[in-house]
Symmetry: C2
């Protein structure tokens, strides 16, 4: 049964954050109890869900770096999208250094989330564009990983390395980690280039390829409102695409 899902790709700007918050909101609309964990020091997921990272007194960083002082449950916030949020702020930037000398540093997130698993049907992890210790923590903590990928040549750069990292994590720390698939994002079906990249994905990476999320100008405005596209343009194609993805996840999560 899938419960904790990491959205990872160290390439920048491939809609990891947008996918996490929108799928989370869609799962909440299906009646699921959902937690989003923001693992990016820039706090984009936090911002998308209506909180200001600069106003936070404590964040996911305190949970990961200061065991004992805060339990994750103490720091969880509610949001207007009906999902809960373990928010991030700039403190997470020093996590790489701070964790470097901690024994078992790849497991701190898994530890922290174990106490939350019985409160949520789904826990979605938003990774930063890096394969550092925090992202490794996400892969170690997750039951499954989704790889958002923009259908452009440069997006292939990091996927091979990500796959190797996933293989390492499976071998050493998390044998159950499943690759749910590649999620083609920002998909512009009108260009030959994007179509060609999409067609080539199954053979290239030997993992499932999820139905693409189409590009839509309605996404850009949503973050400023603290809501997702489901609220700001709920009938748009982008909203429908993410609801379809959420329905797929919903089927994997187990009974309500």
């Amino acid at each position: 049964m899938v419960q904790v899902v990491a959205f990872a790709n160290q390439k920048g700007g491939v809609a990891k954050t947008t996918s996490v918050v929108t799928v989370a909101a869609a799962l909440a609309q299906l009646g699921r109890r959902v937690l989003v964990v923001d693992l990016d020091a820039q706090g984009c997921a936090t911002f998308c869900l209506g909180l200001d990272p600069e106003d936070l007194e404590a964040s996911v960083s305190d949970v990961l770096l200061g065991p004992g002082q805060y339990a994750a449950a103490d720091l969880v916030r509610t949001t207007d999208e009906g999902v809960d949020l373990l928010p991030a702020c700039l403190d997470l930037a020093r996590a790489d250094q701070a964790l470097a000398s901690t024994p078992g540093r790849e497991y701190v997130l898994r530890e922290a989330l174990s106490a939350l698993r019985n409160r949520y049907d789904a826990i979605l992890l938003d990774c930063s564009p890096s394969l550092g210790i925090i992202t490794v923590n996400a892969l170690v903590a997750a039951d499954a990983v989704i790889i958002p990928l923009q259908c452009e040549t440069l997006s292939h750069r990091g996927v091979g390395q990500l796959m190797e990292t996933i293989a390492d994590v499976r071998r050493f720390a998390n044998p159950g980690l499943a690759v749910l698939g590649i999620l083609p994002t920002l998909f512009d079906g009108r260009t030959v280039h994007a179509q060609a990249i999409l067609a080539d994905l199954p053979e290239r990476y030997q993992v499932p390829v999820l139905p693409p999320i189409h590009r839509s100008i309605r996404f850009a405005e949503a973050p400023a409102t603290g809501r997702t596209i489901l609220a700001t343009a709920g009938q748009s194609r982008g909203a429908r695409d993410y609801r379809d993805l959420a329905a797929r996840l919903d089927a994997l999560i187990g009974p309500l």
Copy 2:
């Protein structure tokens, strides 16, 4: 006189790499001797200029982490775009950890580039989407920084922090570091959202705002060819926009 220019923004996918390689190629067309330094472990700039990061025997990482064994000059490669390249590969990923205990770790790039300054008119630094030690090295080594920014709400997330980092670098390590400006990239002039973000930039960040680079479907295909858009779609609007930017830089570089 401006010679070393860093392109930095820890937000992912805002066309840092595309800006570096295209401006470099345009400067070369103006007769300048140009070096691109790839500072991203994913090697996107390296790939864009026709090299495979996985084929490299040595890279910028060896220069930064293994002083004495390689001089930067030994590792510079020529490319079909007429620019030289100090390439990157996955070795750079361990640089953060490896440099952590090195005294003067913020200066290793500046050191390495000092021997190259007399060989090039312009040295452009492509930063990864992070504000870690490698990006700080870029800011310490640079005469000037350009901040590529996509005109969408989420792009603002990291700019404030980047500005603070620049202020710190000026105060402690590189008083001469100039902010050449914000470079609006991937600009879609047809959307109200992008127009609004663009209009608000000067007041919001109190730095110059360069003319925007327009979105064009011709950019996505260029990396697969090992050439920039100047070669693959040289008359397109995107190519013209980057040539205009290169002309601006050319004027700051000093006599040919």
